[in-house]
Symmetry: C2
Subunit: 322 residues, 2 copies
């Protein structure tokens, strides 16, 4: 939630000369995204988001991210659409950083999604999965099972300081999930992999767009569903809301029918997703110096979710009876 690179007006003006989008009439750094610098740009023609990619984003991944947004936009999905410069390029350079302009999406993210919001989200996620078909580039999921092991090693011996027994729980969980995930044989394609409520815009109860595709990758579709169950359907008190879970799953299924194998795998996928977010939050928690710019998220929120998924027997525990 920061602007890491300040863009002077003269650099902005020089950058915009490569585009046919009019003159800047307003330009403000916005607190959105934790990895990059984002600006709202209003020109004489329209509103845009200008992103400067900071060093945590791999430059070699940018063609995947920007190409994906172009592909999804062309398929009719409401997501930021990269704006082409006059020479056709979607990636430029500004203040020494790779930079891209995308269209501005109207909408407001919701802090406490209702079941109606969860249904909208489920449908949009299925549409995203369908729209991603045929996209020519691929990107492995750096935060899939192999990545969890690396995170576990990084946190090893330090987890117990955050919660008693956490080191052992993580080790046991990984030992259980590695073979379980290896045994899965489920449909794959482009997934968002980070579709939390802050990355989804609504106008009233209607979903108006999806943003922040910087974790998008190729992976199991149903794992993306499992991430959303974690991110959208738990209450602040830690309880899973079966009404929201059922709404999300039924709406997804109506737009992209889940196979029996996908449905059966949901508890183990949700457990993996909970472990993934617990691990990244834990490592951030342990490695971020006090007073740093980044807002630290509580890893223990995901420990509670993980324990729910460990107990889940099947999709009925998530509120859905297909």
């Amino acid at each position: 939630m920061a602007v890491y690179t300040e863009v002077p007006d003269e650099d902005l003006a020089a950058f915009l000369k490569a585009y046919d989008i009019g003159e800047a009439v307003a330009f403000k750094g916005i607190a959105e995204g934790v990895e990059n610098s984002n600006y709202l740009l209003v020109t004489t023609q329209a509103r845009f988001i200008l992103t400067l990619y900071e060093k945590r984003v791999e430059r070699s991944d940018l063609p995947f991210f920007l190409g994906l947004l172009e592909h999804l936009s062309a398929k009719g999905l409401n997501c930021p659409q990269p704006v082409k410069a006059r020479d056709g390029a979607v990636l430029g350079e500004l203040c020494g950083r790779p930079a891209a302009l995308v269209t501005f999406l109207d909408g407001v993210s919701v802090r406490r999604p209702t079941a109606a919001h969860c249904a909208e989200l489920g449908r949009a996620l299925a549409e995203l999965h369908e729209a991603g078909r045929g996209f020519g580039l691929t990107r492995p999921n750096a935060l899939s099972v192999a990545g969890w092991r690396a995170l576990e090693r990084s946190a090893r011996g330090r987890g117990d300081a955050v919660a008693g027994g956490l080191d052992a729980l993580i080790a046991q969980e990984l030992d259980a999930l590695e073979p379980a995930f290896a045994a899965l044989d489920l449909p794959t394609g482009v997934i968002h992999a980070d579709l939390f409520p802050n990355n989804v815009f609504f106008l009233g109860d209607r979903l108006s767009g999806l943003i922040d595709f910087y974790f998008a990758c190729d992976d199991v579709f149903a794992y993306d569903v499992a991430i959303c169950l974690n991110a959208w359907c738990f209450e602040p008190n830690g309880e899973f809301n079966v009404t929201k879970g059922g709404a999300l799953l039924a709406a997804y299924h109506a737009a992209r029918p889940l196979s029996e194998a996908e449905i059966a795998a949901l508890p183990i996928l949700a457990r993996g997703a909970a472990l993934r977010f617990m691990l990244t939050r834990l490592v951030d928690w342990l490695d971020t110096p006090p007073g740093a710019l980044v807002k630290k998220l509580d890893p223990l929120e995901y420990l509670k979710k993980l324990k729910f998924h460990q107990r889940a027997r099947g999709v009925a525990d998530y509120g859905w009876r297909p």
Copy 2:
């Protein structure tokens, strides 16, 4: 440059119910202002800035700031105009903080103002001084001479660690400026007191608006001019640009003629202004913990400016021959 208070969508919606400005279609925290949380709000009707006043702003000062913006807007000055709720109030409460909506001003701030920008600024500053006449509320300048002495005490004994001899220089300067300022008898009224380039918007070479009136107060008009000479007319290498100074002063004078006494006082006023910004920057520099959210500004930039003003003999040294 931060958003200190996150405003959930549901709180925003409840807040907006008191206004007749339509529904929110976009809402983004923006990196503007160092004291408060600022959001860009786009509704079905128009664009606005929503400000939540954080604890460094005195709640008792808010009627002055908001009333001043209303007064100046009514006089035709391009500045944020407070938006009235249905009950006529311009100050509400949101997330436990005083909050206000103001109109959004188009324009972009310039990092390296040209002489043309300085002329526009000079004219706008004079128009601001004229427009402030008749405003019913008053607010003393907390950062005038008496405030400098308090800052000097806070920094005493620590300045030499920033630059050799700085403690003695500050003490001597205050001893010289206190009687010099006390002897001034110049026209006073509402001044902006912080009209740096980041608080002034342009569309091309045309000034489109002034923002951030949270240091506004009653003080000597020509002191505001002196602040602008410091903030607008020095080059990055530390040299005063007489072309820019002359443009600023001539344009101001054309819109609000400076008296002989005001003109004669400019070097001492500019010296005081340089000391004021050096002192606040020095105290921030000394008191801000490393890694904090706030961007630290170099106090020594103003030490160089102060030394220029010490040598100035008259307004000709600022590039103007009235």
